[in-house]
């Protein structure tokens, strides 16, 4: 006996369309969030490398320049310009030292596999705090998303998998509601997801126009042409520091 086909209600069809739309937007958001986090990590890693190689040499050079300026000011106690130069050089040296103190520690290099990227995308789609049903769910999602960011940064696929499983098995993820409420929820989630896409796009754009991005791009492009511009900068700074130290000794 043939079973009668239950006619699909218009609200079911609309809910289905909204869910598809939401799924597409969430996939786009997850991709963008992956892009943003990857960019942020790459820039942070490059910045740490830059400070370890060149940044501390600038600070050292500024310290030597400050010592020279202070020595000259001492030799010429009535020279107001020399005194001003000395205090200006000292301010600059202090600022550079603070910058080095605030610089990032260089972590070990991490290779991020395609599997890791796929897992992170899945995590970003499932765990996004804006998809939370209530405050409790939001708190869980925020905690797990932070963990997922760290796991991605550390290249830890196993941990990412655990995080996903932890959330999927959580009783807070089980919800049951009527079609009307689901539809309203889907529409609101779409609005939130679109807003988040704009925010993440703005974040990527802001990083792409930052000086550290320009510096990294310049270094990377020069490397492709066979030129180690960062190495040259380091060598040049070392030579300058040596010359300025010798000058300091003559004063």
């Amino acid at each position: 006996m043939q079973m009668p086909v239950k006619p699909r209600r218009p609200e079911d069809a609309e809910l289905s369309r909204k869910r598809e739309e939401l799924a597409e937007l969430q996939a786009r958001l997850a991709e963008l969030e992956l892009q943003l986090l990857t960019l942020r990590l790459e820039l942070a890693e490059f910045e740490a490398l830059y400070h370890a190689k060149a940044g501390h040499l600038y600070a050292e050079l500024d310290e030597v320049e400050a010592l020279i300026a202070e020595r000259l000011a001492k030799i010429r106690p009535l020279d107001r310009e020399a005194a001003e130069s000395a205090s200006s050089a000292r301010r600059r040296a202090d600022a550079s030292r603070q910058a080095i103190d605030a610089s990032l520690t260089l972590p070990p290099p991490v290779s991020r596999s395609q599997t890791l990227r796929d897992l992170y995308r899945a995590a970003a789609k499932q765990l996004h705090p804006d998809l939370a049903g209530d405050d409790n769910d939001r708190a869980i999602r925020e905690r797990l998303m932070t963990e997922a960011n760290l796991a991605y940064a550390g290249g830890d696929e196993a941990r990412l998998q655990e995080i996903l499983e932890e959330y999927q098995s959580s009783p807070d993820t089980v919800v049951g509601n009527d079609v009307g409420a689901e539809l309203v929820r889907a529409i609101r989630r779409i609005t939130l997801t679109i807003a988040n896409i704009s925010k993440v796009e703005a974040g990527v754009s802001s990083l792409n126009s930052s000086e550290i991005y320009k510096l990294k791009t310049t270094v990377d492009e020069a490397r492709k042409r066979g030129s180690d511009v960062l190495g040259d900068l380091v060598e040049n700074l070392r030579q300058t520091i040596r010359a300025r130290r010798q000058h300091l000794q003559t004063l």
Binding site: R40, G55, S103, L116, G155, A158, N236
Partner: protein
């Protein structure tokens, strides 16, 4: 699966990296700006040097002598030049490009700058210099004063040669003209050449050995 998972200390580094990547950025920005500026300048200088090499023109015997920063430092020391204390300020105003034709040196451009004498310390030696600039020579065959123009980093004081210059005086009481010859990449527009010359990260300076004066050019 990643076979080399981070250890506990490394994980702390990663946590710090993620959390601090965007914090304290302003504090660290100055060192990043300096690196970017120095590397960009180095690349620009390399590009210009390549253009000069391609041009293959010996502008002046001093070119080779002054090419490296160390040699400029030596020259500075020998002549006792204090670049921090200019004795003459020339305010650079309008400019035009003079057509020149070096068939084997297409990258060489000649720019003329109208300069106004803005600052003259009150001393007989500098007054004599003023005279020297005002009436460059009675002999029409020596209508200009040859100078080598340098650029000097405002942050490090490092110097490199900018080009060969000639200070001219077209008419009595009128402005001075700086004629500057320099090789540029062939595809660089005149406006970009001027921006390159007037880069605010540097001072434009020259030395007049006749009266021991440091000339500072101020770009409007």
């Amino acid at each position: 699966m990643n076979s080399k998972l981070p250890k506990r200390d490394e994980r702390n580094d990663i946590t710090s990296l993620v959390s601090r990547a965007t914090s304290d950025l302003a504090t660290r920005a100055s060192l990043i700006s300096r690196g970017l500026q120095d590397i960009s300048e180095r690349l620009r200088a390399d590009s210009l040097k390549a253009a000069q090499d391609k041009a293959g023109l010996e502008l002046n015997p001093l070119d080779e002598e002054c090419r490296s920063k160390n040699q400029i430092a030596l020259l500075t020391e020998e002549l006792g030049i204090d670049w921090n204390r200019p004795t003459l300020l020339l305010d650079v105003g309008s400019w035009w490009r003079e057509p020149i034709n070096y068939p084997h040196s297409p990258g060489i451009k000649c720019f003329n700058f109208v300069c106004e004498l803005k600052f003259l310390p009150d001393s007989p030696r500098h007054a004599k210099l003023f005279h020297e600039l005002e009436y460059l020579s009675d002999d029409p065959r020596e209508a200009g004063k040859e100078i080598t123009v340098y650029r000097r980093s405002r942050t490090t004081g490092e110097m490199c040669e900018l080009g060969e210059g000639l200070l001219l005086h077209d008419q009595e009481g009128g402005p001075l003209i700086l004629e500057l010859l320099r090789a540029f990449p062939e595809d660089m527009s005149d406006e970009d050449c001027i921006r390159e010359l007037a880069d605010g990260a540097y001072q434009t300076v020259a030395y007049d050995p006749a009266y021991g004066n440091v000339i500072l050019f101020s770009w409007r």
